[in-house]
Symmetry: C2
Subunit: 188 residues, 2 copies
Amino acid sequence: MPRKARRFGVKFIEDERNRGLTFFKRRSGLFKAVSDLFALTGARVVMVLECENERFSSFGTPKADPIVDAFLSGDAPTECDTREEQKAVIINLQNELFQLEKDKAMEDKWKKENMLRAKESQEISRKAKYVYGKVEDLDATELYEMYHELSRIKQEINDRLPWCRSMPSNVATLPMYFPYAPSQISFQ
Amino acid sequence: MPRKARRFGVKFIEDERNRGLTFFKRRSGLFKAVSDLFALTGARVVMVLECENERFSSFGTPKADPIVDAFLSGDAPTECDTREEQKAVIINLQNELFQLEKDKAMEDKWKKENMLRAKESQEISRKAKYVYGKVEDLDATELYEMYHELSRIKQEINDRLPWCRSMPSNVATLPMYFPYAPSQISFQ
DNA sequence: GACTATGAATAATT
DNA sequence: AATTATTCATAGTC
């Protein structure tokens, strides 16, 4: 139980470990916020953050190709390694965007822990496609849809069962494992 | 008093007026989140969102020039109007980033409403530079620092006076008027 | 465009 | 990395 649950002001965090932790936590929140903004309004977003290790970490909503294209359309004639840098940005983009490694690990965990309980829930049977379907058979866009569909279902269940908040529902905790919307970025 | 304080799930908002409202509200939150992330961790961020009207709206933390430069370094040889588009992006960037019009209006309002009460508060006298200084004399970076300093002060006051949350403090409401961190962007 | 109840994000803690 | 008390963003309201 956190005795002090809020940071004292908004000031640079000197402690390196704590700073890194905060960075990743808040980046997650940022990604979710962007993801939701897109889902709610359809506004496309591209975000590029600089990590501690001087690398870039990017995030974009689906169909953000025009923005990304604009971002990558540069071909500075004076600098030779710019192309290489941009390539690195794209690679990082892909890596960070999809968070495949993390999601993959989480996926297994999720299947083991929640699949059985999922089958007992008739409330969400009409969404069986997402609940029982093989996750590895979905591509990035479908994963994205899945995440939002499950988020909606979770909300629906919460709304219908307000007296039973902490019920062991499979979808109630699922979105944790697919928190981000992957971007469809054409790779040359 | 909101009877229902939460949206039903995360689904595309069909109502156009409501959608636009949500977009702007959340964009503000996003900007603040990015601003804070930079203040806390020093991570530089550039964000480009697409508005409803097909224009771009951008936001960046100070010292994000390298990222912005990369963004603008493009000079597509095949398309003639790309330069023009980029210029538009920059202009929008400036406009949206600094939110000068809004801030200017808010500034006057703030001065009129809060300056007198500000002078009575000795608690924050050591930050007199920011509280009493002429706002128009500060450049973008100083405005940014000012905003965060005031945020910190607000937090400090809240922490020291937990029993008096709604006290009519000048700084308690001030940050509303400088919510965003302007980016230092070199303009050619 | 301002207010406020509510839910979501997250800082501290284990 | 899991948990939870607390703050904060914001949906709904006027």
